[in-house]
């Protein structure tokens, strides 16, 4: 038996990304941000930190992962 890992293409912060992450929490962890102070949105809608683990990812989802920065 060969375990098939489904790989999806997502748009993360404007760039096409191939990932096996099944949820938004997986994706955030895959990018080394599990403990980081970031906020997320999926297809333009805010996803609170607590909801990331139950937010599935689908082909061509647009994900934003943002962090604090200087501002005017």
């Amino acid at each position: 038996m060969v375990t098939q890992v489904e790989v999806r293409t997502l748009i993360v912060n404007g760039e096409a990304v191939m990932t096996a992450a099944e949820t938004l929490a997986d994706l955030v962890a895959e990018r080394g941000l599990a403990e980081a102070k970031v906020a997320t949105a999926r297809n333009g809608t805010f996803v609170p930190e607590k909801a990331r683990a139950t937010t599935p990812l689908f082909f061509d989802d647009h994900i934003e992962i943002v962090s604090p920065r200087h501002g005017g």
Binding site: V38, A39, E49, S67, H70
Partner: protein, 275 residues
């Protein structure tokens, strides 16, 4: 002039959304030559609020962590913005993300209509303000001097308005002082902060003399040759302008009028032109 009753403390604090602030200056955190200069300039300004933003994560989150540490050490309130958002949905989502990351329900709401002028999209602004106020945010909208837009924003639940002085980053000062004066007169009890376009301390002093409640600026300090001294200069100008407003400015006259008493002027009885 429409000066308020004199107060015991001429440097009366600014209160926004029931929060008393130590200064009438709000300052941005962008474009400084170094984090150290940023921190020193904010301290020199005496500002109680700094504006911050959210941007796409880089360097595995370390950039954001470092910035949060820097801002946290300033001991001031942060006001996240929605800079660069062009639609209601972008602005609302950005505000919600900012609330989670910065742990504040205050938001400087920007919905931008045009990349060249960075003019607020006032229609989107009013719509986004209504959504965010209903969602429990304390919204500080970056708006124009338009009175009907201002009324829409107040009806949407905003308790503070931030009209532009001039387009963001131009440093041109108060481009339309007549309209801003009308706005001040029309909304005497609403905190009004001049946001954007301030290039020199004299611009800030002018806004304060007109009775605006505060000034929000960034580039004029961050891009100064010496940002720390410039921050002090702005703080002094804002204090001076506010003190002048509270003291009651004289009205202008069309014709000259001597300030030295006319009565008792020597040689007053001599015919002019006889000498």
């Amino acid at each position: 002039m429409n000066a308020p009753e004199p107060t015991a403390n001429a440097k009366s604090a600014l209160t926004l959304y029931d929060v008393a602030l130590p200064s009438r200056m709000l300052i941005g955190t962008a474009q400084y030559p170094s984090p150290h200069v940023l921190a020193s300039a904010v301290e020199a300004s005496g500002a109680g609020i700094v504006t911050v933003s959210l941007r796409r994560e880089q360097a595995r989150g370390r950039m954001g962590e470092r910035f949060l540490e820097l801002v946290g050490a300033l001991g001031v309130r942060v006001l996240p913005n929605t800079a660069g958002c062009r639609t209601v949905k972008e602005a609302v989502t950005t505000a919600q993300m900012a609330r989670e990351v910065f742990n504040t329900d205050w938001i400087k709401l920007e919905v931008i209509a045009n990349d060249d002028t960075l003019q607020p999209d006032v229609f989107g602004l009013a719509e986004a303000a209504a959504v965010l106020n209903a969602d429990g945010f304390k919204v500080l909208p970056y708006t124009t001097e338009d009175l009907s837009v201002a009324e829409r924003l107040l009806n949407a639940g905003c308790q503070v308005l931030m009209p532009w002085g001039a387009p963001i980053g131009t440093g041109r000062g108060l481009a339309n002082p007549y309209a801003l004066q009308s706005m001040r007169a029309y909304f005497p009890d609403t905190p009004l902060i001049i946001d954007a376009g301030i290039g020199a301390p004299s611009h800030a002093a002018q806004a304060m003399e007109m009775g605006f409640d505060g000034v929000l600026l960034n580039t004029a300090v961050a891009k100064a040759g010496d940002p720390v001294r410039m921050a002090q200069a702005f703080a002094q100008a804002i204090d001076a302008g506010r003190a002048a407003f509270e003291s009651g400015l004289m009205g202008m006259r069309d014709m000259a009028q001597p300030s030295t008493p006319v009565a008792g002027t020597p040689f007053f009885d001599l015919k002019r032109g006889d000498a």
